[in-house]
Amino acid sequence: MTVTSEVFIAVLLLIGAFLSLVAAFGLIRLPDVYTRNHAASKSATLGVMCILLATFFYFLAADGFFSSRLLLGIAFFFITAPVAGHLISRAAYNSGVKMWDQSVRDDLKDKAKKEAASKR
């Protein structure tokens, strides 16, 4: 393993760990479900992807082992994480979880009314 690849892998790992830490920090700090979902669905996605990529490059550089499963893992995470974020916030909204009291607008509130009007 050369020094360049070692530094590259270390930087990727640290970025991934740092982003996961920020996601956890955002979960504690942000005020309601929806804003927390922002932090969780974005930072956690890229954090895990960075760590998986670092693992992939480590085994490629150290053992010459091309682990296609790690690449598949990255692809699956990339596709499924935003869908999970969407479903959680949708379920929260439909079961009546209140938004933060300083929220500005809510177009979804009169969605049912609008859909009834468009059918007419």
Binding site: L19, V22, A23, F25, G26, R29, L30, P31, D32, Y34, T35, N37, H38, A39, S41, K42, S43, T45, L46, F78, I79, P82, V83, G85, H86, S89, R90, Y93, N94, M99, W100, Q102, S103, V104, R105, D106, D107, L108, K111, E115, S118
Partner: protein
Amino acid sequence: MAFQILLNVFLAFLWMFLQVSFSAQTFIIGYLLGLLVMLGMRRFFKGRFYLHRVWAVTYLFLLFLKELIKANIDVLKLVLRPKLNIRPGIFAFQTELETDWEVTLLSNLITLTPGTLVVDVSDDNKTLYIHAIDIGDVAEAVEDIKNSFEKAIMEVSRHD
């Protein structure tokens, strides 16, 4: 498009049979030669030459990656800022995309865009309800970004 790829694979096999050598190398050379032949004959196809769409998909993927990194920097700044001054809200976004998979792709892209998260899609697939983390300055900028997303997706799904 599927027909064009099938034809290209068929031409590659034809090349392999002409060479009487059945290896991956011969297949790749035959595929590239077939690509050249199809490029010359592309006015006989009904749709576009399929490499256009391959390029459009690649562009969309790179856009996806860029937005993901930008979104993370935004969340980073937001969470680590000492004073929390955000104004969240939900706004409605009218989309021109029609088929189910296009709308799915667009909402995935929006969810990974800085500061936005899709909360609901209306029953007729025309309106997306998007939760923005800071609605004041984002609402218009986001409109631009999504127009570029919508354009990139339409470029993939265009049939002519």
